[in-house]
């Protein structure tokens, strides 16, 4: 906790220097809060865990938003501004890991595991269908109707039984 406090403090001081030229109030430069938030919501503050920048309540994040405002008023694009933050604070400010290097694993491992799951399941299905395969195919063509063709029959069977009891 103490470490975190020092980190936050350090961060505030650095940020203060970074935005020194701008005053804290915005709006006079023709950049709206919405334009700032449109970029801020895709960025994550590196000191407060898992909080998007547009709703983060710390002073540090406020300074960051002012920095975005400044850069927007200077005519920088969204991509340039995001790149600035990545360059200065690392890839963790992005809401998704960049698609390169080690980070590629985050995108490829789940589909790979799921694919293995699908293959295993379908091979198992094939195996389980086993010997009765032919008989089943016959019935699906309609020559022999399966005994209980739909879920409704489950209910009807139960219903019949109940009626019998009632008698």
């Amino acid at each position: 906790m103490k470490k975190l406090n020092i980190l936050i403090l350090l961060f505030i001081i650095i940020s203060l220097f970074a935005v020194m030229p701008v005053s804290a109030q915005g709006g006079d430069d023709g950049v709206s809060d919405d334009e700032v938030n449109a970029i801020a919501r895709d960025l994550f503050c590196p000191v407060c865990e898992n909080t998007p920048l547009d709703v983060c309540e710390t002073q540090a994040c406020k300074q960051w938003r002012e920095l975005i405002r400044l850069k927007l008023s200077e005519g920088q694009t969204e991509a340039e501004i995001k790149q600035y933050f990545v360059d200065n604070y690392g890839a963790r400010v992005l809401d998704e890991p960049p698609k390169e290097g080690f980070n590629l694993l985050v995108y490829f491992v789940p589909p790979a595991i799921i694919l293995v799951g699908i293959i295993v399941l379908f091979r198992a299905f094939k195996e389980w269908q086993g010997d009765d395969q032919e008989e089943y195919e016959d019935s699906s063509e309609g020559s022999i109707e399966p005994k209980r063709a739909s879920a409704d029959d489950d209910y009807m069977a139960q219903f019949e039984e109940e009626l019998k009891k009632k008698k």
């Binding site: 994550f44 709703v55 710390t58 799951g117 399966p146 879920a151």
Partner: protein
């Protein structure tokens, strides 16, 4: 005196639990009934012991005994009594004690009720729950002592730090107990599963005994999730209820495996297949429960370094590893006994579709689990941390959720054993046609987003198919002269006769109602933030909000309240006044409380953006327009009703 007594009782409880576990194992090995009876009684004593320890803690909390560190850290003098009581689970040591108390209560309930009927399984159930209990109490005894005194020589503080204001909300008061109840109750079916593995009773005895337990666990896990969402929506002030935060995902993970289990266990009951798979699912559920507690309690989320520094983090890690290795060793040992001849004639049979359902739920599990641990792996292997945020989860799980909804629309029409395209097609075409009314209606309201249109079609299908199931059953009953029921009583009797099935269908409908809300807020949420002076207006999504006044005053508990008033109107017609608030607590903790106007169609959600600095001349407001979000809560209520129908005692069993 009292704190020492409390701690002493915890130490005794720990020893008694260890004794109970050891003597139960020994008694089983020696086939000595007296020893097992002694183990059972020892376990029953843990409940009054932990209850007394908890009562002492609550007494200390209520009476502002700040010489106790925990009391000082979670309460202060201005807190009302009910909040002081809930501070029991407001911090780490207390919440671990709360967990132990719940587990002890559940274990006692099991050992009291079913002992005679299942003498074979129960001693082992006791061993499993006892080991888990011993682990949690050990955390309290050795690392996180709730009765720890402030260091000697330091004067007793005059006032406490107080509970985090974010936690002083009704949602946060019931959310943690519900979440913990869900987590803890998963232990019971897991314990029975392990007992079945140890004794070799590989028939479906354990699933039958634990059916209700599993449903209760599912109910509480769901409640925990929903209450947490509601709390986030009402208190956190970021316009949503779910941010794919690791803590949220930690609660979702066991819910996913348990939902899969609830479906696949039916295959075991109906067709006597897939016993091995059900074992895997329940073992996973338990491991994920401990993992969830570990994630939220160990500090691992903030960084792997914090984890290494935390004392209990590595212990959780060891405990998960231990239960995992023991569970899977047992499973492998019993693997051949659990084998049964599997026949799956058709890929469209009910059991095949249930397996597909399992595949989909586990896919979401894989994605979420990987997303949560990836930042840790990245930090560990590359030294730099990354963020895996909402876009990742939404993109990856969105289609899977869609497939699950499609499955909910088809599976009720598939029969056990065999179904074909033909039989399902014959049953589905009418509901499918009716389901098209949903996207058509959406089109008439101007929605052209194709994801939304597909989503509404699938949701429509689930609703029409499920309603048809109710209709067919009720109609058949009411048409029958001998039963003499009108359509309404027929429907009630239908549900009564098969609570599990129809309770399940109600849960299906509730899920898609929640789906409507999620589609609404995910695809159509809009927002704007503006600095306003008095009299100025914000326009969003056809609504107008006029800023009328700003007040600032001090509440009796010391917090400074800043309250804005906005008149909400649409098409020039006044609707109501919304008053978003910003509370600043004496300890400097801020709290942003939104004002929400909620209807079935949309929510208008306003906050005072206190972090931008509030002045009378220029007050920053943020307004969110959240379409359809109320359906999330409506669906949640219905969900609870559905499960309650499922767990309610059957009339037949009462008669017996």
């Amino acid at each position: 005196m009292l704190p020492s007594l409390g701690y002493g009782i915890l130490v005794i409880t720990f020893l008694v639990t260890l004794y109970s576990v050891a003597i139960a194992i020994y008694g089983q090995a020696e086939k000595d009934g007296a020893m097992i009876e002694s183990a059972r009684r020892a376990m029953l004593i843990t409940l009054p012991l932990i209850t007394i320890a908890s009562a002492i803690l609550i007494y200390l909390l209520i009476n502002d005994r700040y010489e106790v560190e925990y009391v000082w850290s979670v309460t202060n003098r201005t807190m009302p009594i009910y909040l002081k009581i809930t501070a029991w689970w407001g911090g780490q040591p207390g919440s671990l004690l709360f967990w132990s108390w719940l587990l002890s209560a559940f274990t006692s309930a099991v050992t009291l009720r079913k002992w005679d009927r299942d003498r074979e399984l129960l001693p082992w159930v006791l061993v499993v729950t006892g080991t888990t209990l011993a682990f949690f109490i050990a955390l309290n005894v050795f690392y996180e002592n709730p009765f720890k005194l402030i260091p000697a020589g330091v004067p007793i503080p005059l006032d406490g730090r107080g509970l985090n204001p974010l936690l002083r909300h009704p949602g946060m008061i019931i959310h943690p107990p519900a979440q913990y109840l869900g987590f803890v109750s998963v232990t019971i079916p897991y314990a029975f599963a392990i007992a079945a593995l140890i004794t070799g009773r590989t028939d479906d005895r354990w699933t039958r005994i634990t059916r209700k337990w599993t449903l209760w666990a599912w109910l509480f896990l769901t409640l925990g999730l929903v209450l947490g969402m509601r709390w986030a929506y009402d208190v956190l002030g970021w316009g949503g209820y779910w941010g794919w935060d690791p803590v949220e995902i930690a609660a979702l993970l066991p819910w996913l495996t348990l939902t899969a289990f609830l479906h696949s266990v039916m295959i075991q009951e109906k067709r006597n297949m897939l016993k091995q798979w059900n074992m895997i699912l329940i073992i996973l559920s338990f491991a994920l429960v401990i993992f969830g507690t570990f994630l939220t309690r160990s500090g691992v989320l903030s960084s792997v370094h914090a984890f290494a520094e935390s004392e209990i983090g590595p212990l959780f890690f060891l405990f998960i590893g231990f239960t995992f290795i023991v569970s899977f060793s047992l499973l492998i040992k019993r693997w051949p006994d659990l084998k049964s001849k599997i026949e799956m004639k058709s890929m469209l049979s009910r059991e095949a579709l249930f397996l597909l359902n399992n595949l989909l739920f586990l896919s979401i599990l894989v994605i979420s689990f990987w997303g949560v641990i990836f930042p840790l792996l990245s930090e560990l292997f590359t030294g730099s941390k990354v963020t895996v945020g909402p876009p990742f989860y939404e993109r990856a799980t969105g289609p899977v959720w869609g497939a699950l909804i499609l499955l909910m629309g088809i599976a009720p029409l598939a029969a056990w054993g065999r179904s074909t395209v033909k039989t399902i097609g014959r049953a589905i075409w009418k509901p499918a046609l009716a389901a098209l009314l949903f996207p058509i209606f959406a089109l008439t309201t101007g929605i052209t987003n194709w994801i939304a249109l597909i989503g509404f079609t699938l949701i429509g299908l689930v609703i029409t198919v499920t309603v048809r199931e109710f209709w067919i059953g009720a109609n058949a009953r009411s048409k029958n002269k001998r039963l003499n029921e009108n359509l309404f009583t027929a429907l009630l009797h239908l549900i009564k006769r098969n609570r599990r099935k129809y309770g399940g269908y109600i849960v299906h409908i509730s899920m898609v109602l929640i789906g409507i809300g999620i589609l609404g807020i995910e695809l159509f949420q809009t927002d704007t933030q503006q600095h306003l002076g008095i009299g100025e207006e914000i326009n969003l999504a056809g609504y107008t909000l006029r800023y009328d006044r700003l007040d600032q005053f001090r509440h009796e508990d010391g917090r400074l309240i800043t309250r804005g008033e906005m008149a909400l109107s649409k098409d020039g017609k006044y609707i109501e006044t919304l008053a978003p608030r910003f509370d600043l607590y004496p300890d400097g903790q801020p709290m942003t409380i939104p004002a929400v106007r909620s209807t079935l169609v949309d929510d208008v959600y306003v906050i005072l953006v206190n972090w931008e600095g509030i002045t009378r001349e220029s007050t920053p407001f943020k307004v969110y327009h959240n379409p359809l979000v109320k359906w999330v809560w409506i669906g949640s209520y219905l969900f609870v009703i559905g499960i309650l129908i499922g767990v309610w005692k059957d009339e037949e069993s009462k008669e017996v």
